[in-house]
Symmetry: C2
Subunit: 348 residues, 2 copies
């Protein structure tokens, strides 16, 4: 089959690799229809973490149709249109049962093969899905393939980020970063009841879209975010800040605009050696800091009814669309934010 594969720092290749096969009786094989490039694919792209085998199929955002099922698969059948969270999960362990599916004891992240072990990703014609009954969800009526793509990762991640922020409808919240996850976090925060919600970025096009989703935009190159928030919160910083960028500057800004006793919710992977605030900083503001990978499988089901309502133009964030064979260009456009790119969809 054809796939977009990893071959070292900033080197993605469109090439033929072996077709995936059923390895366990609980596996299925999915014929991919659409895939997306995710911000966290860039951690692989820039080789922030070493160890990935060259030739690994990239990507963890995909939707498609089941073309083969293992003998023990019960819930799913050939022909089912399915969406997948970005990590697999067993559905049986402690973490799956408490809703922390992203920390499943048997879970794996797509697009990470090390020493021949692991999972190939979904930016390919086919993908093997382990523990498929627990991992995959059928795409129900009223949900498009594009929406299914969002449910499997960034929409769920946005809701998770807002969930962690314990939105108080009478309070003031801020989101640092108006990339794709930031937009979905706005949607999540609004659905959790946010009424005074600020979205902080420096790119006007992104801020305009943030406004279209219901946030009050702050361009941090033109305005002082803390001062703007204070004006709307009786002189105090934000009650909660959702930081979705995953770098030290964003984390520090999140700290600086938070009021004492507030919550910082972070879902971005930050590769800095140290947190952007010291233990004394944290103590002096009595902060609650919640951080981690989204348990997307846990959120997907809950969000289906919200997506079905079509209240938000969620797929407006899919700014670029191309075929899989053009994926190398897609990575370049996405990684370098060319042409106001927010999100690239790949047709397979």
């Amino acid at each position: 089959m054809k796939a977009l594969t990893f071959h070292g720092k900033e080197k993605i290749v469109f090439e033929s690799i072996a077709d995936p096969e059923i390895l366990q009786p609980t596996d299925v094989i999915v014929k991919v229809k659409l895939a997306c490039i995710c911000g966290s694919d860039l951690h692989v792209y820039y080789e922030h973490e070493k160890g990935l085998d060259h030739g690994t199929a990239m990507g963890h955002e995909f939707v498609g149709e089941i073309v083969e099922v293992g003998k023990e698969v019960k819930r799913l059948h050939i022909g089912d249109r399915v969406m997948s969270p970005f990590t697999t999960n067993c559905g049986q362990c402690f973490y799956c049962k408490i809703g922390l599916t992203c920390r499943c004891e048997k879970g794996q992240l797509y697009g990470w093969v090390e020493n021949g072990h692991g999972l190939h990703g979904g930016q390919a014609e086919f993908v093997r899905v382990p523990m498929a009954d627990a991992t995959l969800e059928k795409i129900p009526e009223g949900i498009s393939l594009e929406e299914g793509l969002l449910l499997g990762d960034i929409l769920s991640t946005g809701f998770f980020c807002a969930h962690q922020a314990e939105i108080n409808p009478n309070g003031v919240q801020a989101i640092v970063g108006c990339g794709p996850v930031g937009m979905m976090t706005i949607v999540g925060a609004k659905e959790y009841g946010a009424t005074k919600l600020f979205a902080i970025d420096s790119v006007e096009e992104r801020l305009k879209m943030a406004e279209s989703f219901g946030a009050i935009p702050i361009n941090f190159k033109k305005q002082n975010p803390l001062e703007v928030i204070k004006e709307h919160n009786q002189g105090r910083g934000a009650d909660a800040v959702m930081e979705v960028v995953g770098n030290g500057n964003a984390a520090r800004l999140a700290y600086d605009i938070l009021r004492p006793g507030g919550i910082i919710s972070t879902v971005g992977v930050c590769n800095d050696q140290h947190l952007a605030f010291s233990p004394v900083d944290a103590y002096n503001k009595n902060i609650t800091y919640k951080v981690g990978r989204c348990p997307a499988r846990h959120f997907m089901d809950k969000l289906i009814p919200i997506v079905q309502k079509k209240k938000y133009d969620l797929t407006s964030i899919l700014t670029h669309r191309m075929v899989l064979s053009e994926g190398t260009i897609g990575y370049d456009i996405f990684a370098n934010k060319k042409d106001n790119c927010l999100k690239v969809v790949l047709e397979v």
Copy 2:
């Protein structure tokens, strides 16, 4: 009056300083009966933070009797036996109203005078208490002066630490550090319903006392805390860890023994430049990290009924007792943990 005063690193002097006077109509003057040396007094003692005026009366744990009241004081009268949280608070601002009295907009910490401004501490014959109606609480029937001392700081801090840990009675929790605050955190955690509660330290006498308060002791020099906890939690780390030491080693241990999705609650002041875990560490475990100063005024009232029940031998942690004039020796014994010292009470 006589007081124990700060004169630079590791230099506490028993000397005469000016009697405090009513400066604001909401002030009262308290004749101190008992005071304690607190672990956080050692941050002053070791000059971890610069700026304190030499000659400042030390200490923020005291109880006594009101001997003078300002014109606008309404709730309190001369002769009232009172206890005080370690910070003052107005009772009116946003933070006081949400129960975060330690971050009161007008609040001050006792024992911190800078450029002539601030509050002298309670290790003295008399102490001025601002915003007294909101700050002080009368010591009710059935509460001894010693218990009042504990309510004003470390008992409240222990409960706050346990509160932040969101104790699940069916879960497993651990406390890192069996100093005075650690002991009170055990009491707090037990009252919040903890049933499998581990207390970690390396001093056998402290571990014995921790056991007497209801914890399962782990001597980290003899046992591997993570392995012990895993045996009791189906192979997982602790669901929540309360870290009450305030240094990097303790913070790292708290991280290491936590299960994914767990909570770290910290109430100690840590002067390290960086947190003991990186952003990726935090992400990889989906941690919730709650840190900060205890809103003691908020907790004191709630804890009075618990203290009145006399279920715990709380004052057993008051291992050393001496008169104020011997306080210099008291600091040496306490700071250097001589003679198995846990806590020093000073009679005034």
